[in-house]
Each structure stands twice: as C-alpha cells, then as structure tokens.
C-alpha cells in the first residue's frame, strides 16, 4: 500500500567550495544565494583553490580552465580544441566571455555576489588548513569572511534537522 510521505522542507545548506575556476565558484555562490532567497539558511566554507573566491586580490579575477574541459565549445557549438586552450591569452579571452555572458543575466561579480549572500543572512567561512598552506591572513580575505575555522568547526555549524552539505 502506498503511504503518503510527508516531506519536510530544507532548512539549511552548508556549501563547501574547494575549486577556484569561475564555474566552480559561481556554482557555489548561486546555490548559496538561491538558498537565502528561499528563506533557507546558507553557510559557505571556502578551502584550497576555492579560497581565491574570497581573497581580495583574486576574487574578481577568476578564470575558467581552457585545457582538459571536454564540455567546452566555441561559439556555434564547435568543439574547443585543447591545444587552442594552451595558447597565451586564450584562457583570459574565454574567461572574459564567460563573465560577460553572466553579466548579461544580471549575475554580479564575486565581491558583489558575496554582498548579496550576506545581506540575506548567508555566512562565509575560510578553511584554516588551506589559509595556512597558502599563507593567507584574515586581512587578505573579503570583509564578509566571518572567521577562519577548521572543518570540524564547520561541521559543528552543520547540525540540525533538514540540513544538507554540498561539495563543489
């Protein structure tokens, strides 16, 4: 007999961003912003190359990798040869194009995106291990970063019913 299952709505998402390409960072930012816009609590943990997204000097200069990405095509849908991606300037050109396409959809630069997420109550954290490794200090990071914490501390923030951890 089919039982009617009652679903409880999602209450909190904890998003771990470990990569620093435009698409990885924006996937995390869109998910966090989308959560707060739906009234879902969002906490973000940036680690390893994901730290670029909250590092003042790097956050608005992210790139998309043009090498080893089989899903990438040129305008018109022609496959993008990896060899072409290796040429100087190509990665910068592709990255600029990605940013332009997102700007057309009213998707903001990284710093402004963090403004939006935190305006909605989202929280931003940096990974202790990775900041030590990359020799980054709190002052190198966006003012939206609440604290530099360990993954254990982050898990402690991930409690409660209907919480999900998302890794990108």
């Amino acid at each position: 007999m089919a039982e009617k299952k009652e679903e409880k709505p999602l209450k909190k998402v904890c998003i771990i961003c470990a990569k620093g390409t435009i698409e990885d960072v924006y996937a995390s930012l869109v998910m966090a912003n989308g959560a707060v816009m739906e009234g879902i609590e969002a906490k973000m943990f940036f680690t390893f190359f994901g730290l670029d997204a909250i590092t003042k000097k790097k956050m608005n200069k992210l790139h998309t990798g043009t090498v080893g990405n089989p899903a990438m095509t040129m305008p018109g849908g022609i496959p993008f040869p990896t060899l072409l991606g290796m040429l100087p300037g190509v990665e910068a050109g592709v990255s600029a194009m990605m940013k332009k396409q997102m700007a057309d959809l009213d998707i903001p630069p990284v710093d402004e995106f963090l403004d939006m997420i935190t305006a909605g109550g989202g929280e931003i954290y940096a990974c202790k291990l990775a900041t030590d490794m990359f020799k980054l200090k709190k002052e190198d990071l966006s003012e939206h970063v609440i604290d530099i914490i360990t993954i254990g501390d982050f898990y402690a923030l991930a409690g409660g019913d209907n919480t999900q951890i998302i890794f990108t």
Binding site: N33, G34, M37, E38, D106, M116, A119
Partner: protein, 103 residues
C-alpha cells in the same frame, strides 16, 4: 487556473497563489496577499511592488540585484521587507508571476 476572492475582487491565480493577470491588481489586493505572507503592508512594500510591476510590464527579468540597484531599497532592506523570500514574496504581493531568476 483558479479564481480567488481577494479583498472583494475575483482574481485569477495559479496553484501557487500567484496572480495570473497583473491588470486585476489593486493596493487592497496587495494588502491581503501580504497578510497571507505574514507581512503588514507599508508604503515601503508598495514602492517595491510598484517597481516590480513596472519592470515586469517592460518585460525585464527581475532579480534582487536589480531591485537593490533601483534606489528604492538595498538588498538587506529588501530581505527585511520580505523575510524569507525577497523576490518571490514581493512578486506575489505585486500580482506578477513567480520570478524565474536564480539571483
């Protein structure tokens, strides 16, 4: 599609309660719709609702970023006005379709 009596007026709504004909909207309806969302409608809310309606009529894609740049209210203020749904709740109260943007 269904019709619903809001503030004494029969309006077309979809299954989620969004009005499907923005021209049926009145401020009295906005007040009732706001109540359903536990919001006490103020002039601030109405300003945002009217802005959304104007932009919607122009065919613009609505985002909280756009509202934040409208000069009416910043994004933090928008969250305060429409807790838990800055774009969804404001659109519902403004009598326009549910927003389809992720930002």
């Amino acid at each position: 599609m269904a019709t619903k009596n809001i503030a004494g007026i029969s309006v077309d709504v979809n299954e989620e309660g969004y009005m499907t004909d923005p021209s049926q909207w009145t401020e009295a309806i906005a007040k009732e719709l706001a109540k359903e969302e536990d919001i006490e409608l103020t002039d601030e809310h109405l300003k945002v609702a009217k802005y959304l309606r104007e932009e919607h009529e122009k065919g613009a894609v609505l985002t909280i970023r756009k509202v934040g740049k409208s000069g009416l209210v910043d994004i933090k203020g928008l969250y305060k006005l429409f807790p838990g749904g800055p774009l969804k709740k404001s659109s519902k109260i403004a009598g326009i379709p549910k927003p389809t943007s992720c930002v």
